[in-house]
Amino acid sequence: MIDRLSELLQYRDLIRQLVIRDLKVRYKNSLFGFLWTLLNPLFMTVVFTIVFTIMLPQSAVPKFPVFLLCALLPWNFFSASVMTSTSTILGNGHLIRKVYFPREVLPLSTVLSNLVNFLLALSMLFLAMLLLRVPFTPWALLLPLIAAVQFLFALGWAFFLSAAAVFYRDVPMIMDVLMLAWFFLTPIFYPMSVLPQAQTLLGVTLNIQRLAYILNPMASLVASYRVVLYYGAPPAWDFFLRTIVTALAFLVLGYLFFVRYSWTFAEEV
């Protein structure tokens, strides 16, 4: 295992080159190029702001664009990482069959290039904060830590899904549906506080708000981003620590699964 990790380190230039390739190829031949990284969240913000402040004014949240972007940008990062990872091994089949290199490089560079996009897109959020006069507090300095935890969580998924998609080709279709459901179950365009604390379902009283926190690591991550940027307050430490543990567990399990099956990729892709 240590050998494997040190070999991965040997190939760090390859990881860098693949990230550069991903970013270059994504924006070459498109009219606005890299601007799409910024335009996409801008359009989404406009649409959601119209829906939730003009069409559904009763659910209005002050300074809605900032409120939304704090959650939407991290969500886009996660969702894009998950969806592109399902094709990263299959899409590079010609390399897998012909060239030896540590296969971990592929999911890793996929998530990294999505991380770069996320960091670039954050400039839209900072711009919105300036325009709408949402003050930056020292708690905003926790942003890199939260992003790092999210990166590890996404990487765990990417390891697992990229390998699973080689053996079951409907993984991307399953994830399409799953990610849509997950988007609505995560407090992205609504605040966590609208979730009921006591909801009776089939005769059992459930604290939906707490359940959402416990069962959905993305809810906890999104809430952490939002609390340090939008509310300018410290995150809920107990939930955040739990999320770190969850992210690390996903990373380790995903990596072990990937390593276990990676040597058969050359025969299966």
């Binding site: 270059k24 390399l95 012909k98 060239v99 030896y100 290199f101 050359a266 025969e267």
Partner: protein
């Protein structure tokens, strides 16, 4: 002389999926129908033994489907044997096909950096060798043009220039010298000879029997995954030619 590559009792089995359930739907249907999918076991290599000494050039010959490329993939570490033991000492040039990692939307320059990294070369080494690679490939004028505008000859020249720039202890060559025009082929062979003089180990797969006889010290004749003969290149090539007559 120490041994650079050794195969001991190496077998490789492939599972051919005729009706393998590829999706969960097919899996469920197959499961309900009591059909687990038809598979066939194919032994690409069966109980192979051979050694390549350091500094030696070994040619591998045999008809299509004999398992030649599988041997190279096992040496490169792309696949693992089903049984048996493989020992490889030294850095293997892991490229089995010229330009395997080329991306058509990227320029020649960008592809050199990407592909050198794929071969495990650090970026500063690539930077140092960049000029040499471009000159060998004779692509000075086209280095900032996207690869999709390259002719197939230019493409192969860049691929070969990259493959030989890696500085491997063990070089694996799979039919790659059969490309390019006469002049470039000669240039490639000259480069391979240089490698031989430098004492590098080369494993060479080709259907060009005259090249094998000329360049290799020894040859390995594979037939249906088994070793038919191994010995001096001239002798093995002669036997092989007689058998196909």
């Amino acid at each position: 002389m120490s041994v650079a590559v050794s195969f001991k009792g190496v077998s490789k089995r492939f599972t051919l999926h005729h009706e393998r359930p590829r999706t969960l739907q097919e899996l469920t249907i197959g499961f309900l129908g009591g059909d687990r999918g038809r598979t066939e076991q194919l032994w690409a290599l069966k109980d192979i033994d051979f050694e390549v000494e350091e500094g030696e050039t070994l040619g591998i010959i045999g008809p299509n489907g004999a398992g030649k490329s599988t041997v190279l993939k096992l040496v490169a570490g792309i696949m693992r044997p089903t049984s048996g033991e493989i020992v490889v000492r030294g850095k293997v040039s892991p490229l089995l096909e010229l330009g395997a990692g080329f991306h058509h939307d990227l320029t020649g320059r960008e592809n050199i950096y990407l592909n050198a990294a794929l071969l495990g070369v650090r970026e500063r080494e690539t930077k140092a060798k960049f000029q040499e690679i471009v000159e060998f490939a004779e692509l000075e004028r086209f280095i900032d043009v996207p690869l999709k505008h390259y002719s197939s000859g230019m493409y192969m020249r860049l691929g070969f220039a990259l493959a030989v720039s890696v500085d491997p202890g063990i070089l694996l060559i799979d039919e790659v010298l059969a490309v390019g025009d006469e002049a470039f082929q000669r240039k490639c062979l000259a480069r391979v000879e240089e490698f031989q003089k430098e004492g590098r180990t080369i494993v060479f797969v080709s259907h060009a029997l005259s090249t094998i006889a000329e360049m290799c010290h020894r040859a390995l004749w594979l037939d249906q995954g088994r070793v038919r003969a191994i010995g001096s290149a001239d002798q093995v090539v002669k036997e092989y030619l007689e058998s196909v007559k």
